[in-house]
Amino acid sequence: MSNLPSLRLHIPVPPARPGDAPSFDHLRLSEAGAVRRPDSAAPEAEMRDLPYDLIRVLDGEGRAVGPWDPKLSPDMLRRGLRAMLATRLFDDRMFRLHRQGKTSFYMKSLGEEAIGVAQSLALGERDMSFPTYRMLGWLMARDYPLIHLVNEIFSNAEDPLKGKQLPILYSARDYGFYSLSGNVGSRFGHAVGWAMASAYKGDDGIAIGYIGEGTTAEGDFHEALTFASVYRAPVILCVTNNQYAISSFSGIAGAEATTFAAKAIAYGLPGLRVDGNDFLAVWAATIWAAERARTNHGATLIELFTYRAAGHSTSDDPTKYRPADEAEHWPLGDPVDRLRQHLIALGEWDEERHAALVAELTETIRAAVKQGEAVGTLGQSKPSVREMFEGVFKEPDWRLIEQRRELGV
């Protein structure tokens, strides 16, 4: 036997479990306005500090500070606030409808609304997003009709996806929203392929792909980064680090050792680590990466540092694995509250207008749900069963035709 201590297997455990006091002391955070903003065309080698910082614009008083302030107009800020609130109110309503048995499944974006909304507004109509299932804000920001969402969630006769897909796994090509799937990570490389195609054709659209911090452990993540780097694809690759993969804290995905943004360094790509609950910071980082992509300087990896304030899905109870009050202690606050506070600090918003907006959106959502319920909730209504056999191939082959007849539809 040697004199060395025996080997020990390390299993990461989070700082707090149910019953413990929430603790975020271990997080690497920067002060608002403290991180430098290099030129978007600067060589990657000159920005290897950025993945370890945290780009923030909004300070504790709701002021926009520092070089990343995108200096948005009050109208655009109000538009963002509106879409974020719409997302949150819609989520609430749908979660309750699930509890009433009107659909089979739902997932909320609670606490992450700034990401989809800011990026949707910051990017252009010809750009394509390859979303995760917490990007409803993207569609809300582009005024995707609520009734389409409701019908898809009810899988009813008017479902735009014709009853073929689980609730919330939307597809909306005209709104720059690629088909979602329940397999996490498998569209990350599609974003790169889309961007390569745009470059191949000499077009002007770019792609933005999303993956959760948990899913960065999949090969898809590394494959996409490799291809994005090799071919200098005009793509923004985002890791939405909401701290949880169902019940597993981010340490299980490697967060104890480094940041997710820092994974970019090995691929020679810029890595930005951004406060995902800060509408302005998300916007600013996105525009920076978009500018880099549009000028043929290639891809950027952005870690959007946020917190999943709700459970993973309607099938999850987060109080079983984390302190029940942990969300309230998240040091980067709530994205809706922070943008509201900023608008109020600018003198461009007040509580009265906010309450009126909430009332208006609540009513709009209520009306859309009512309209969807009139078509039918899950099980009350569905597209023609013939539809089940359509779209497997462009034209059904004899198997599908025979099986459709066998079912008698």
């Binding site: 392929g193 291809f227 004899w398």
Partner: protein, 337 residues
């Protein structure tokens, strides 16, 4: 018409499509400047340009994922997977994404990609250069699986695959690249020179997917095969003296069920031949279909001749590989019963 082997015919198909359609592009491991380990993309980069035919990282999952993204954009990528044995890292992309994209998006997005990959044995390639994975694709609805058996079909089927709006797995029997191998590895090998199917038009033409070819007409027994086994079966039939009808499926999805049923109804006997291992192989599906549709016309049990249920072994190449003797034995069993 020109005399071509299968490599040249495939190269010609890609050349024609690169010239015809600016949305066609090729990428894969070693396919660019070098022209591919089997030379199928030889000269295409030089002729059509760097962005039309280029090298990819050793990342089958990444190759197929990016191809799907390109396909969704509106391109018609033709990625190459260097050996079908290496396609499994891309299996999730093919099954969960390419095969389902049209369906799950309500038709908003689709993946019109053609994945070329050399497959099959008889080349002393051992476990990792010899496998026949067609059944794992045939089982996945939403994918088409095409397997040519000669230069003429290879070119026409490849063009049809690239023009197809659905994802296609295009498996190239590498043992047939240079000649119509009949399994007699101990005899003088033939090339495609002088073979009727080695006469290949230089321009654009298609061979439709889902249409089998009757390689040999006969009245006693129907032999169903594809890829290299078409030639092995043909050799075995000719030596046996049995008047067998030989059907080359050319694509297993879509499957030409009408050709199979029409033939078996005439002959009343059926022998199914494939290189892949037997259990769970595509022959099981063929056997079930024939039984379901032709049971009362069958005069003898359906025979399956297939690779053994072992990994593909190196030293035992010719003990594993389905050769003429095993096919002849199956033909005799079918006739004697």
């Amino acid at each position: 018409m020109a005399q071509m082997n299968m490599i040249q015919a495939l190269n010609s198909a890609l050349d024609v499509m690169l010239a015809n359609d600016p949305n066609v592009l090729i990428f894969g491991e070693d396919v660019g400047y070098f022209g591919g380990v089997f030379r199928v993309t030889d000269g295409l980069q030089k002729k059509h340009g760097l962005t039309r035919c280029f090298d990819a990282p050793i990342s089958e999952g990444g190759i197929i994922a990016t191809a799907i993204g390109m396909g969704a954009y509106g391109l018609r990528p033709v990625p190459e997977i260097q050996f079908a044995d290496y396609i499994l890292p891309a299996y999730d992309q093919l099954v969960s994404e390419a095969a389902r994209l049209r369906y799950r998006s309500g038709g908003e997005f689709s993946a019109p990609i053609t994945v070329r990959s050399p497959y099959g044995g008889g080349i002393f390639g051992g476990q990792t250069h010899s496998q026949s994975p067609e059944a794992v694709f045939a089982h996945i609805t939403g994918l088409k699986t095409v397997i040519p058996s000669n230069p003429y079909d290879a070119k026409g089927l490849l063009i049809a695959s690239i023009e197809c709006d659905d994802p296609v797995i295009f498996l190239e029997p590498k043992r047939l690249y240079n000649g119509p191998f009949d399994g007699r590895h101990d005899r003088q090998l033939r090339t495609w020179a002088g073979h009727a199917a080695g006469e290949v038009p230089e321009g654009h033409y298609t061979v439709p997917l889902g249409k089998a070819a009757t390689v040999r007409e006969g009245k006693d027994v129907t032999v169903i095969a594809y890829g290299t086994m078409v030639h092995v079966a043909l050799g075995a039939i000719e030596e046996s003296g049995i008047d067998a009808e030989l059907i080359d499926l050319r694509s297993i999805v879509p499957l030409d069920i009408d050709a199979i049923v029409a033939s078996v109804e005439r002959t009343g006997r059926c022998v199914i031949v494939h290189e892949a291992s037997r259990f769970g192989g595509f022959g099981g599906e063929l056997s079930a279909l024939v039984q379901e549709r032709c049971f009362y016309r069958l005069k003898s049990p359906i025979e399956r001749v297939a690779g053994w249920d072992t990994p593909y072994p190196h030293a035992f190449e010719w003990d594993y590989f389905v050769g003429p003797a095993r096919i002849a034995a199956a033909l005799n069993r079918a006739m004697e019963a």
